[in-house]
């Protein structure tokens, strides 16, 4: 009961802080693709893999006081900053849910921009295709992003690194 909530809280505990909803969506998706046990379902939306279930669960965690959400104005647009509250940490420790260490993967994602994580998560969304097909698909569905060859190369390196 409430294990799915607890698993997300474990992610926030290890990440310490996540800035940006889009970034959060992509981080959880990438972790899921790396084999970490998150139950939130994703489907493809205009901006890449997106989970309505994750968005609703985050709202629940905020409403319960387990997660703090701060809305900040940044260069003319708003962004959201999340961190686990003491109350959330208390719930997590009592929940009995054990989660594997995600630190190293989270750290690697922290070093990357949201745009890059968007590219990686979109590539992972098509991971049942060949390498060439994946790049073609990404160029088709995200034509406005104008990803370069170098972007793809870096993303492939990142994916390989994440999965090992």
């Amino acid at each position: 009961m409430l294990e799915d909530h607890a698993r997300l809280m474990a992610f926030f505990e290890q990440a310490q802080e996540v800035v940006g909803r889009k970034r959060l969506q992509k981080m959880v998706y990438i972790l899921k693709k790396c084999g970490f046990d998150f139950s939130e379902r994703y489907s493809f939306h205009f901006y890449g893999p997106y989970s309505e279930e994750l968005s609703t669960r985050i709202e629940e965690l905020c409403n319960l006081g387990f997660l703090d959400e701060a809305k900040e104005k940044e260069k003319g647009y708003y962004q959201y900053r999340y961190h686990l509250t003491d109350r959330g940490a208390g719930f997590l420790s009592e929940s009995g849910v054990t989660t594997p260490n995600m630190d190293s993967v989270i750290q690697k994602m922290d070093e990357q921009s949201s745009k890059f994580l968007e590219l990686v998560s979109t590539m992972l969304y098509f991971d049942n295709f060949s390498k060439e097909e994946i790049e073609d698909k990404v160029r088709t569905v995200k034509s406005q992003q104008n990803y370069t060859e170098a972007d793809f190369e870096e993303a492939w390196r990142f994916i390989s690194d994440m999965k090992h």
Partner: protein, 432 residues
């Protein structure tokens, strides 16, 4: 004449309680409707267990799929000769709208959770696999099945086409809101679709709405909001979903333990339990088959499985109380211990259900590019996001309401001896 352009000699019409008539002229559409894979949707209810709350809600995914097709057909008629619209995409849109829910299984919400399945994967598998649907689509063009699958999967290159079937104001939502309102008998889901269709305009990447149509869209957004809380997330329906999930978990547990002899071997479920579901297995399991098993399992030796099936079939559902995980989590732990002590297995007779278990697609204004919002087209041609223009939409796309309930088998607790301490303790916690 090429198969893609073939028309029926005479237009076929389906009488429909929501759209009055559904019109079919294309041979391809008529042939797709006749396939076993599409006809199977007659045996899958659109609203799963909702009929246990609203007795009229027995309509099927077949009805809904035809409805979405009809709405898209009307939108395309309006779009003809408008900028950004390519009429060569017409048949693709019609096929994708008709087939968009093809992969739904029986009671798909619970089934997908318990067996870790995704109906979108099966929609794609049916369209691309060795099926009658695929055979028909391939007659149009060798790549046509892939294009249809891509539109449904939302990865097709023409995003305007995708947005007709999947966006925050699309044919899918417009049909199910009206259809579900009609069959449940509630008054909340109605809005002026004719008006919305008249003010829709094609743009490069999505459909937009002429600003003069804003109030019709407000009505649509409000009806989504009302239908979610009044129908889709009704606490009694959630209780039925909880029991259904418990049945599937119990049957799976018994099967995998390999020690239990079922009176009726769960042949149709075996591949689901073993996570080896082939397309053939998937298509064989519809709600009629599921009900057959549940009826037979009412007589099973296993007391939990038989009791849960009886509850589901006879609508003897779990009761519920409001639950606040933030303040009552320790009580939940105590309650689990009390249930165990009382001989009532909490794994099967106690559950917390949260709003995120059935995510509602709240209108999201596209902050941080989460989802593409609805855009209004101003007389100047400028596009403005809906909630920036509409106070009503802004008010319900702000702070989100969430909800948690604790479901339990109250009758089993009532059966405990009156004087028992454990019974008193359970009631104390539940009332607390």
């Amino acid at each position: 004449m090429a198969y893609r352009d073939e028309k029926l000699n005479e237009e076929k019409v389906f009488k429909d309680p929501v759209h009055r008539y559904i019109h079919v002229r294309d041979r391809v559409i008529w042939d797709l409707i006749g396939t076993p894979e599409f006809q199977r949707l007659r045996r899958i209810k659109q609203l799963g267990t909702t009929y246990l709350t609203f007795h009229g809600a027995e309509h099927s995914r077949f009805n809904h799929s035809l409805g979405v097709y009809e709405i898209v057909r009307r939108i395309i008629e309006n779009f003809r000769d408008q900028p950004f619209w390519d009429d060569d995409e017409r048949l693709l849109c019609l096929c994708a709208s008709l087939l968009h829910d093809l992969g739904h299984g029986p009671f798909s919400h619970s089934f997908e959770k318990v067996f870790d399945l995704d109906h979108e994967d099966y929609t794609r598998a049916i369209i691309l696999g060795d099926t009658k649907v695929n055979e028909i689509l391939r007659r149009v063009d060798e790549n046509f099945p892939q294009d249809v699958a891509d539109v449904i999967h939302k990865t097709y290159s023409n995003k305007l086409v995708v947005s007709l079937i999947s966006s925050q104001i699309d044919a899918d939502r417009m049909d199910y809101l009206q259809r579900d309102a009609y069959f449940t008998g509630v008054s909340y889901g109605h809005f002026d679709m004719e008006r919305i269709l008249r003010v829709m305009r094609p743009m490069e990447d999505q459909m937009v709405i002429k600003e003069s149509g804003m109030h019709a869209v407000e009505d649509y957004i409000m009806s989504r909001y009302q239908m979610y809380w009044q129908v889709y997330f009704h606490p009694v329906t959630r209780s039925a979903e909880v029991i259904l999930s418990k049945i599937l978990h119990r049957a799976k547990e018994l099967y995998l333990a390999n020690e239990y002899e079922f009176k009726l071997k769960p042949m149709h479920f075996e591949s689901f339990f073993l996570k080896e579901v082939s397309l053939e297995d998937y298509l064989k399991l519809d709600e009629n088959v599921v009900f057959y098993y549940f009826h037979i399992w009412k007589e099973e030796e296993d007391a939990i499985l038989s009791d849960l099936c009886r509850r589901f079939v006879d609508r003897d559902l779990f009761k519920y109380v409001e639950f606040d995980p933030g303040n009552q989590y320790r009580e939940l732990m105590d309650l689990k211990e009390c249930f165990t002590e009382a001989g009532v297995d909490p794994t099967y007779y106690l559950e917390v259900d949260s709003s995120s278990d059935l995510p509602y697609d709240f209108y999201r204004p596209g902050e941080e590019e989460e989802r593409l919002p609805i855009h209004l087209q101003l007389p100047t041609g400028e596009l403005k996001e809906l909630s920036r223009q509409s106070d009503i939409v802004e008010s319900i796309s702000g702070k989100k309401r969430t909800d948690h309930k604790l479901y339990f088998a109250k009758d089993l607790i009532e059966q405990l001896p009156e004087e028992s301490d454990i019974k008193k303790r359970i009631y104390e916690i539940l009332k607390g």
